[in-house]
Symmetry: C2
Subunit: 459 residues, 2 copies
């Protein structure tokens, strides 16, 4: 049997893990400095916690877990009936499956907040970095197991939260050294105002869904879709005027205030964008180079957003968005806790990894762990080398002795393959002189050092 | 609907995550300093990778994932037949389920090594810290989702590896400050020698399984079980002699050399224990206080061990073992790669967490993240405070402004609940004087500082 792994899943080699950890740790340190706290929820949720939260397509893509011990149950006739339910109306039998794998981090977060509402200090600012699972058809860049990395604040209506989360994007991508970052913002209230003003308030979702595709299908495609969704020509024209607004951020804000002057909702949305930008100006640091743009064509797919929305991309690589989020009202209402507003952002770890790989942005030493490998060529030197290891490790220097007395070449090859920067050679001569012959694997240079000199050299 | 999580799973609150991270990061830093590299494998494996590897009981406890899109399949009659297979002979239908959740980290590691055998630098030293899932009946300290934390070396027969892994236990528990640590070692070869010498070589597993229960059921229980498993009285007596050997480590080794003098296997096992101890003596550091003991009553449950075995506990708390491992030959043989020897150890994260909580061993600042909360009481001060936040965060100091202009008491309560050590107050007076009124939340002390003084104070 030739072993393999399920389609759409990945093994992460040591180099992969280190690079991913570099990204996750960098983002984590930013979350922490803004006062966000870590949360982890179980991989499995009760199926009824997840079902109905992600639309019909979502329900279909949730990985359900088969209940255990089915063959030991007495009433096998009942099990056949239950199986019929699974086959006719998908997944309605808790006898067959009552648990499922997490589909995102947002619903488990809402579920957690509701369960722990009496213990939490609100506003509750949490971050969460965990895998999620979706039974999507795997393709390049789309996996069945992938990581989400979210920060959310619930229990505060203040736009300070929006500003901080947007700064978190700027700060994190600055620390990760990703060039060409654009943080685009808009407000669902402006989109709602557009729907109002063009006389199609009840078709907000249709309008949002169509505008969301502008990047992919262009204006002609959007116009076609709007028409198909039943919008008359004058409404479609109105939307075109909306999408055509251009100029600097200030010019666009002013033009939009004029275009949507009849909608109080839109005016509120625009005012919120202004306040968010004002807060950001005060929170930003001079060294950040990313742009923050108001982009009224930004729509975001998810239905639950109600206020400011955001999407992040880079102009440096051809790649979809690498982050997104927004404000949502009443997410916890799904689980019975009404009136709690929240706002959150998400980092697309897999895409950020791809961008950083393509642009070669990982620090040079991200793969280095073991700093020195002692070769194993002189049995008499073993005791001495072990005491060296003990000393170096005590100083936090990662050090190894090749564990078998293999051929010298094989040991050097190992050091090379592992990208170990130094090799220490202690043969009978070095042993007698109490020195280590240190070879720099990059330059080929060799020098003789005492253990004291060596440990100073490597610290 | 009152939300809940599946039985045997846990939410980890911010405080839980930080404490668990403290343990995992400490152990990780030790793995790294000994030259081990991180690996991560998918949560899902193909069901046939896992089935048959953990015994019948294991097969039953593996969480299987229901295939998606079943209700969309055309041949529903076939699906009923397949369901019958699930109900009669458990889990034999890949039409119904072909994936399952990881049950441990060892089999996925073996699978990975076989798949990547041509790319890896051997000996391959990897560590892995990931959750695993078992459909066990949940009880105190036993979960359906729990973390394993393993380090293994494959591709080397050298006892240096055993010595290093045992030192990793000592080093890690030293860094975690856990008192009363005992690292107990034995060899499966000594147990094999015992089985030979008492004339029951083919009953090695029976003997091992019975001896493994000595702690729980005492000698009388073991004797009863050995008898039930078909061992005659003289053999049982021989085993009693074996288990009664006592004295210092050296005395026990000598006594065992004498008792099992007729078994070459046992003699080899004893010699290996001696060599391991010799290597350890050279690798250990003076500050480590843990004991390393040869304990011939140690057996370990798992069948695949073939050489040195180890178990770690603490005398400071009443608790089962908090770590264990040993050498296994040919684990990768399961996937077609023969002749690769390995040795590994595992840390029991959940139990270590419990021990450290019970003994109050977490560092005082493990829960602290946000160092200072500015209260939000003076709208005029907002701009100034945001610039303070920007400055402090730029220096890596975690700082927050309470996001809403809530009552002062509510904001102080938030700081208290979050265990934030300092509160910064900027009212109209402080604003005019360009100072911050800094309150130490532990001592209650207050002082007026400029932002320069404050940032020096908090660094």
């Amino acid at each position: 049997m030739k072993p393999s792994i399920p389609q759409g899943t990945r093994d992460f080699s040591p180099a992969d893990v280190r690079r991913r950890q570099y990204i996750l740790n960098t983002i984590k340190s930013v979350f922490e400095v803004y006062g966000f706290q870590p949360l982890e929820t179980p991989s499995m949720e009760n199926l009824n916690t997840l079902m109905g939260k992600y639309g019909e397509e979502g329900d279909r893509l949730i990985f359900k877990i088969l209940n255990n011990g089915l063959h030991e149950k007495k009433d096998q006739a009942k099990l056949h009936e239950e199986w019929d339910k699974i086959l006719s109306k998908p997944y309605s039998s808790t006898t067959v499956t009552e648990r499922a794998l997490r589909y995102d981090l947002t619903i488990p977060f809402a579920r957690y907040v509701v369960m722990h509402q009496n213990d939490l200090a609100f506003p509750f600012k949490r971050y969460q970095m965990q895998p999620v699972w979706r039974a999507d058809r795997p393709q390049r860049g789309r996996y069945r197991e992938f990581w989400q990395c979210d920060a959310d604040v619930v229990g505060s209506n203040s736009l300070l939260n929006e500003a901080e989360l947007l700064c978190i994007y700027q700060d994190a991508f600055h620390r990760l050294n990703v060039p060409g970052i654009q943080v685009k913002i808009n407000s669902r209230k402006v989109l709602a105002g557009l729907a109002e003003c063009c006389g199609a308030a009840e078709q907000l979702t249709d309008i949002t869904v169509a505008i969301d595709k502008l990047d992919k299908i262009g204006w002609d495609g959007v116009a076609k879709e709007l028409t198909e969704r039943g919008l008359e020509a004058d409404k479609v024209n109105y939307i075109q005027n909306y999408l055509n607004i251009s100029g600097s951020t200030e010019e666009r804000l002013v033009a939009m205030e004029t275009l949507l002057k009849d909608s109080a909702t839109a005016q509120q949305g625009i005012a919120e964008l202004r306040t968010t930008l004002k807060y950001m100006a005060q929170l930003q640091r001079g060294e950040w180079t990313s742009e923050v743009l108001v982009d009224f064509t930004l729509a975001r797919g998810l239905n639950y957003y109600t206020g400011v929305i955001v999407e992040v991309g880079t102009t440096a690589v051809k790649m979809g968005s690498i982050g997104g989020g927004g404000r949502y009202d009443d997410l916890t209402g799904l689980f019975g806790l009404k009136g709690l507003s929240g706002v959150g952002v998400s980092f697309g770890i897999d895409r950020i990894y791809d961008v950083m790989t393509e642009l070669n942005l990982f620090p040079e030493n991200v793969d280095v762990t073991t700093r020195i490998l002692f070769v194993n060529i002189e049995p008499e030197a073993e005791t001495t080398i072990l005491s060296y290891l003990s000393r170096l490790r005590g100083q936090g220097i990662s050090a190894e002795l090749y564990s078998d007395a293999a051929k010298f070449d094989k040991q050097m090859k190992y050091a090379d393959k592992r990208q170990i920067p130094y090799v220490g050679i202690v043969g009978s001569t070095e042993l007698a002189q109490k020195v280590i012959n240190l070879k720099n694997m990059t330059t080929g240079e060799q020098q003789q050092l005492s253990i004291e000199q060596l440990s100073e050299h490597l610290v």
